[in-house]
C-alpha cells in the first residue's frame, strides 16, 4: 500500500464525531513493524498510519474483541480500516452475523501489497538496525545503520500479495486513494498451490511434515484469524471432546492444522494473517488456499464477496450432481 | 528412586464411599503402604491432589481431622474431568494421592477463643476438618457456632453427623436459600442469616468458606458486625496443576495459593492484589 497516512487522518478527523472508535494502525516497536491501534479520542488520530506496513487484518477485533452486532445507544459506528483482503473477511463476518453492516463504518484502502518483514531481513545487509522503510513507486527503500538499500517492491511483499486478486476493498463506505489493478485475474490459478501440487504425492507429504513439524502450538494462526470465532471453546484446547492430546508429535501437529483448515473450508478469505503471524514460518495459509480452490472449482463460490451469500458448506443444493 | 519426587503420587485405595448429595460424594481412602499411612501427618486445612490415572489430578481438601486417623476423607463435587471420574469410582478402586500440601488453619492462635464457622454447600469440607479437630479438643476452645447454608435441603453434606456435632458441643444454624416444604430451620442466604444472628465479635474468630459470591458478602457482613480483618479466616480456590508452587497458574500477585494458601486471614487478603 502506498503511504495514505495523511489522507486517512484527514478523513477520520472529518467524521470522528460520528464514530465510537476507529480501528487503524500505528507504528510498532521499530520501522519494520506496525501495531493495530484503537483510535478512541480526537487526539489519537495523529498516531494513525496507513502504508505498506499496515499488514494486520483489523476485522478480527470486530469479531473477537467487541460487540459489532448490536447498534450503539447513540447510533455511533465503529470505524474500521480495511485493505482489499481485509474487506473480504469483513464480508464473511457480515455473512455469518458476527458483524452487522450498519454497525461499522468501512474505510477502504486500495493496496498494492504489504511487506513481509522476514523477506526484508533477508534482503538487507544489516537487518539488525533498520531506521526506515519506504515504498517509492515500484521500489522499496530501506535505510539501515550502514546505508540505504533499494530493491524491487515485489521482492519484499508477502506471498499472499504477490497473488492478490482483490487489492480493492469489496465493500467500503469511503475509499481512500485510487483503485489498483489486481495482479491476478479473478479466475487465475493459485501459483503457490500449483507449486505444491507439482510435487509427487510422497513429496507433498514430506513437504508438509517438514513444515508442520516446526509448529509449537502457540495458536497465533488461530487467534489472528478473523474467522476462527470459537475463541475459548476451540477444540484444540478442550479435553471434552478430546480431539488433540498434549503430545507434541507429528500426528498432533498435523491434526491441528487440518482442524484449522477444515473449519475454515468455504469461509477463509485468504487474508494471510495466519501465515504472517506464525513465529516459525509455516506457510499456514497455503493449506487453506487449496481448499478455497477446490470450492471455487466445485461450487463456483468465493468467500467474502457477497454479504448475502451463504457459505457453501453451511448449505446444500439437492440438484447438484457429479459429487 | 531414592530422592523425593514431589510429582509422584502415593497409591491409595478407596475404602468407603458416601453419597452426600446428588452431585457431591465423599471418598474415604487409605494409602496402600501401611507404614506410610501410619506416618502420614497433616494439619487441618491442608489439601491433597487426587489422581485418577488416565484422567488427571485435582485438588481437594482433606476433610477428616488429624485427630481421626482411620482414613483420609475427601468430598468431591462433580465438576470437570477428574471430579467426574472420581464420581464413577467404586470401593476398592485405586487412586493416587499427593498430600499434604499447602498451609493450614492457625488453630494454635484460636485457642481459648470463641469460634464462628460460616460455610456454604461443598465448602463445608474445609470447615469440617477444623470443626472436628476443635470438637476433639473441645476444652481448648470457647463457644463453637456453625452457620451452614445450602441451596436446598437436599444440598447439605454430612447431615448424618449433625447430631454428633451438636452432642460434642457445637451449635448449628442451618439455612436454605429459598423456602422449602417441611424445612424446620432458617431460610435465606448465608450472609443474611449471619447478619440476623449477629454473633458477638468479642474474642471470636470467624472461619468462612464458600462460593466466591458468598464469601464476598459474608466478609462484608462480618465486617459490618465489627469483626476485624485479623479475626476472619477464609480459604481460597484456584485452578491448580502442580500444587507445589512451580507451575505458575494459582498466583495472586507474588503469593501462590497452593503453597502460601489455601488458608488466608482477611488481613492477608487485603494486603494482596485484588485478583480473585
Amino acid at each position: 500500500m502506498d503511504d495514505k497516512t495523511n489522507a486517512l487522518r484527514e478523513h477520520v478527523k472529518g467524521i470522528f464525531s460520528n464514530l465510537e472508535l476507529v480501528l487503524g494502525w500505528e507504528p510498532g516497536y521499530d520501522p519494520l513493524h506496525t501495531r493495530p491501534f484503537y483510535v478512541r479520542t480526537e487526539s489519537d488520530i495523529d498516531r494513525l498510519t496507513a502504508n505498506c506496513l499496515s499488514f494486520q487484518n483489523l476485522t478480527r477485533y470486530l469479531a473477537k474483541s467487541m460487540n459489532a452486532v448490536d447498534p450503539a445507544a447513540d447510533g455511533r459506528k465503529i470505524g474500521v480500516c480495511v485493505k482489499g483482503c481485509d474487506s473480504r473477511s469483513l464480508v464473511a463476518l457480515i455473512q455469518e452475523k458476527f458483524v452487522s453492516r450498519d454497525r461499522v463504518y468501512v474505510i477502504g484502502l486500495p493496496c498494492r501489497g504489504t511487506l513481509d518483514a522476514r523477506r526484508i531481513r533477508a534482503l538487507v545487509p544489516d537487518p539488525a538496525r533498520i531506521r526506515s522503510v519506504n515504498a517509492e513507486g515500484d521500489e522499496l527503500v530501506v535505510e539501515t545503520d550502514r546505508g540505504i538499500s533499494r530493491f524491487a517492491l515485489d521482492r519484499a511483499i508477502a506471498r499472499k500479495c504477490l497473488q492478490c486478486r482483490y487489492p480493492n476493498p469489496v465493500i467500503h463506505d469511503v475509499l481512500i486513494g485510487d483503485p489498483v489493478t489486481p495482479r491476478l485475474k479473478i479466475d487465475a490459478e493459485n501459483p503457490s498451490v500449483a507449486a505444491v501440487e507439482a510435487l509427487s504425492l510422497e513429496d507433498r507429504l514430506l513437504f508438509w511434515e517438514n513444515q508442520l513439524d516446526r509448529c509449537i502450538r502457540c495458536f497465533a494462526c488461530r487467534n489472528a484469524c478473523p474467522l476462527c470465532v470459537c475463541q475459548n471453546h476451540c477444540i484444540m484446547e478442550t479435553r471434552m471432546p478430546k480431539w488433540i492430546t498434549q503430545y507434541r508429535n507429528m500426528n498432533e501437529k498435523f491434526m491441528f492444522h487440518m482442524i484449522h483448515a477444515l473449519h475454515l473450508a468455504g469461509r477463509c478469505t485468504e487474508c494471510g494473517e495466519c501465515e504472517r503471524v506464525c513465529p516459525v514460518g509455516i506457510p499456514v495459509a497455503l493449506i487453506k488456499e487449496k481448499i478455497n480452490a477446490i470450492i471455487y472449482e466445485m461450487l463456483d463460490y468465493e468467500s467474502g464477496i457477497d454479504p448475502e451469500a451463504v457459505p457453501p458448506l453451511l448449505t446444500f443444493s439437492p440438484k447438484e450432481t457429479g459429487i | 528412586m531414592t530422592e523425593l519426587n514431589p510429582y509422584r503420587p502415593e497409591m491409595a485405595t478407596v475404602i468407603e464411599i458416601v453419597e452426600e448429595t446428588h452431585n457431591i460424594r465423599t471418598l474415604r481412602v487409605l494409602l496402600n503402604d501401611p507404614e506410610k499411612m501410619k506416618a502420614f501427618s497433616f494439619q487441618p486445612g491442608q489439601v491433597g491432589q487426587l489422581s485418577v490415572f488416565g484422567y488427571g489430578e485435582s485438588t481437594f481438601v482433606i476433610n477428616s481431622p488429624p485427630t481421626r486417623r482411620d482414613y483420609l476423607q475427601f468430598s468431591i463435587m462433580q465438576a470437570g474431568e477428574v471430579a467426574g471420574r472420581l464420581h464413577q469410582l467404586n470401593v476398592g478402586d485405586q487412586i493416587g494421592v499427593r498430600a499434604p500440601l499447602g498451609n493450614y488453619f492457625p488453630y494454635e492462635n484460636m485457642k481459648g477463643r470463641d469460634i464462628l464457622f460460616v460455610g456454604g454447600g461443598i465448602a463445608m469440607a474445609p470447615l469440617r476438618t477444623l470443626l472436628l479437630f476443635m470438637l476433639d479438643n473441645r476444652k481448648d476452645y470457647g463457644d463453637i457456632t456453625l452457620i451452614y447454608g445450602a441451596r436446598t435441603p437436599n444440598d447439605f453434606c454430612y447431615t448424618y453427623e449433625f447430631d454428633d456435632w451438636k452432642k460434642a458441643g457445637a451449635s448449628l444454624i442451618l439455612t436454605v436459600d429459598n423456602e422449602a416444604p417441611d424445612w424446620p430451620h432458617r431460610v435465606g442466604v448465608v450472609p443474611k442469616v449471619l447478619a440476623e444472628e449477629a454473633p458477638n465479635p468479642k474474642n471470636r474468630i470467624a472461619v468462612t468458606c464458600g462460593p466466591p459470591i458468598m464469601i464476598k458478602f459474608a466478609l462484608a457482613a462480618l465486617k459490618q458486625l465489627g469483626y476485624a480483618d485479623e479475626q476472619i479466616y477464609t480459604t481460597l480456590e484456584k485452578r491448580m496443576k502442580c500444587g507445589i508452587g512451580i507451575c505458575g497458574r494459582c498466583n495472586i500477585g507474588e503469593k501462590y495459593v497452593c503453597i502460601d494458601g489455601p488458608v488466608f486471614s482477611c488481613a492477608q487478603l487485603s494486603a494482596m492484589l485484588p485478583e480473585l
Partner: protein
C-alpha cells in the same frame, strides 16, 4: 594450562564432532531456509551452527521440553479377581550429558529464573534438576544486538556469563573458548590447543569491548511497586493490550516463561502423566472447573505476565527480574506489543500520559 583454547572457523565442526561423542550437543541451526527460521537443534555431523544470527526460539526446551513425561502408569489386573487391579508407576528421566553450544548470554541467563523456581523453592523439581546438573553451557559473547534487544535493561549484558560454563569469544579467524567453571575448564582443556598470546589478547579485548556495550536504553528493574500501584488502573491495561490477540507466542519463545500444565494421556490400560508448556495468555490457563475465571480477559492475563516478570518475581526473589532481555517476545509478537514500553509506562502517572 590456561583453560582456553582457540578454534579456527574451519575447525569448529571437528570440535563439535568430538564433543558430540560425549554429549548431546545442541546448537542454534537453520531449520527452514525459506522463512529464515533458526532454532536450537541437536548437532549431527554436517549440521552447521548458526552463530551470526539470533535464534527465533529460545533454548529453554533443552532443560524444559515442551512435553515431558513425568511417569508412565499401567493398570495391572489381578488374575484371581479381574475387578481388582493395581497400578504400576514408572518414573522416566531423560538426562544424559548435554552441552549447549552457541547460546547467547540472554538465553543462558534465562535458566537463572528456572533455577529459582524449580530448585530453590519449598519443593525441588527433580526432572529439571537432573537435566540441569548434566548440562553445560558454552555461551557466545554476543556481537549483534537489534532494535528489540534490551539485556542491559534487566541487569545483564552482551558479555554476561552468568550460568555459563564456557565463554565462546569470536575473534579474527575463529573463536577462543574459555572455561569458566571447573567442569567447563576441564572440558576445554581436553578439547583443543591453547590460543596464541595475540589471540588470547584479542579475546580479552573483545570481552572488554562487549561488556562495555549498553543494550537497551532504560533500566527496567525496580518496577515492582509501580505495578502494584497500577494494578487496578484498567484504562492503562486496556490501552496497552487492545491489539493483543492472546496467542501464546510471547510465552512460547520466552527463555524465562516456565508455566506448565500437567495432563494424563492414556490409551487402553496404560498411559502417561506429562507436563507440557502452558501459557498465561490463554483463557483456559486459570479457568476453574466450576466456571469461574480470575483472569477472564486479556487485560488481566497480560497484566499478570508483566506483573510476574517485573513485580511478583522480584518481590519473591530478592529483586531479580524474571526477564532476560532477549527481546524475542517483541520480535515475534504479531501485533508488535513492546514489553519495554509497557513496563516503562507503569511509572508514569495519569497526568504524564494526558
Amino acid at each position: 594450562m590456561s583453560g582456553k583454547i582457540f578454534v579456527a572457523h574451519d575447525a569448529l565442526s571437528g570440535l563439535l564432532d568430538d564433543l558430540s561423542k560425549k554429549f548431546k550437543v545442541w546448537i542454534p541451526q537453520m531449520m527452514d531456509q525459506a522463512s529464515g527460521h533458526i532454532a536450537f537443534g541437536v548437532y549431527a555431523p554436517g549440521k552447521k551452527p548458526e552463530l551470526t544470527r539470533r535464534s527465533r526460539l529460545s533454548p529453554k526446551k533443552i532443560l524444559f521440553p515442551s512435553m515431558d513425561t513425568l511417569f508412565k502408569f499401567t493398570y495391572v489386573k489381578d488374575p484371581k479377581d479381574p475387578v481388582r487391579y493395581t497400578i504400576d508407576l514408572k518414573e522416566s528421566f531423560d538426562n544424559g550429558p548435554t552441552l549447549v553450544f552457541g547460546a547467547r548470554p540472554c538465553d543462558t541467563r534465562g535458566f537463572q529464573t528456572f533455577d529459582q523456581v524449580f530448585l530453590k523453592g519449598q519443593y525441588k523439581d527433580v526432572y529439571y534438576e537432573r537435566r540441569r546438573q548434566n548440562t553445560l553451557f558454552a555461551t557466545l559473547v554476543c556481537q549483534d544486538s537489534d532494535t528489540a534487544c534490551f539485556c542491559s535493561s534487566v541487569g545483564s549484558g552482551p558479555a554476561d556469563m552468568t550460568g555459563s560454563d564456557m565463554a565462546v569469544i569470536p575473534i579474527e579467524g575463529g573463536y577462543v573458548i574459555e572455561g569458566l567453571t571447573d567442569a567447563g575448564r576441564k572440558l576445554v582443556e581436553t578439547s583443543g590447543s591453547a590460543p596464541s598470546p595475540e589471540q588470547a589478547a584479542a579475546a580479552e579485548q573483545m570481552k572488554r569491548n562487549t561488556a562495555a556495550l549498553k543494550i537497551g536504553e532504560d533500566d527496567l528493574t525496580g518496577y515492582a511497586d509501580d505495578l502494584t500501584r497500577r494494578f487496578t488502573d484498567m484504562d492503562f491495561w486496556r490501552e496497552q493490550v487492545s491489539p493483543c490477540i492472546t496467542c501464546g507466542v510471547c510465552t512460547w519463545v520466552c527463555p524465562t516463561c516456565y508455566c506448565f500444565s500437567i495432563t494424563d494421556e492414556a490409551s487402553g490400560m496404560s498411559g502417561e502423566r506429562m507436563r507440557s508448556w502452558d501459557s498465561c495468555m490463554f483463557y483456559l490457563y486459570t479457568l476453574e472447573a466450576r466456571g469461574h475465571n480470575p483472569r477472564p480477559t486479556k487485560m488481566e492475563r497480560y497484566r499478570n505476565r508483566v506483573g510476574h516478570k517485573f513485580s511478583y518475581f522480584p518481590k519473591k526473589y530478592d529483586g531479580m527480574v524474571s526477564c532476560c532481555g532477549c527481546g524475542r517476545c517483541i520480535r515475534t509478537c504479531p501485533v508488535s506489543i513492546d514489553i519495554r514500553k509497557v513496563v516503562k509506562e507503569l511509572k508514569e502517572t495519569a497526568d504524564d500520559r494526558a
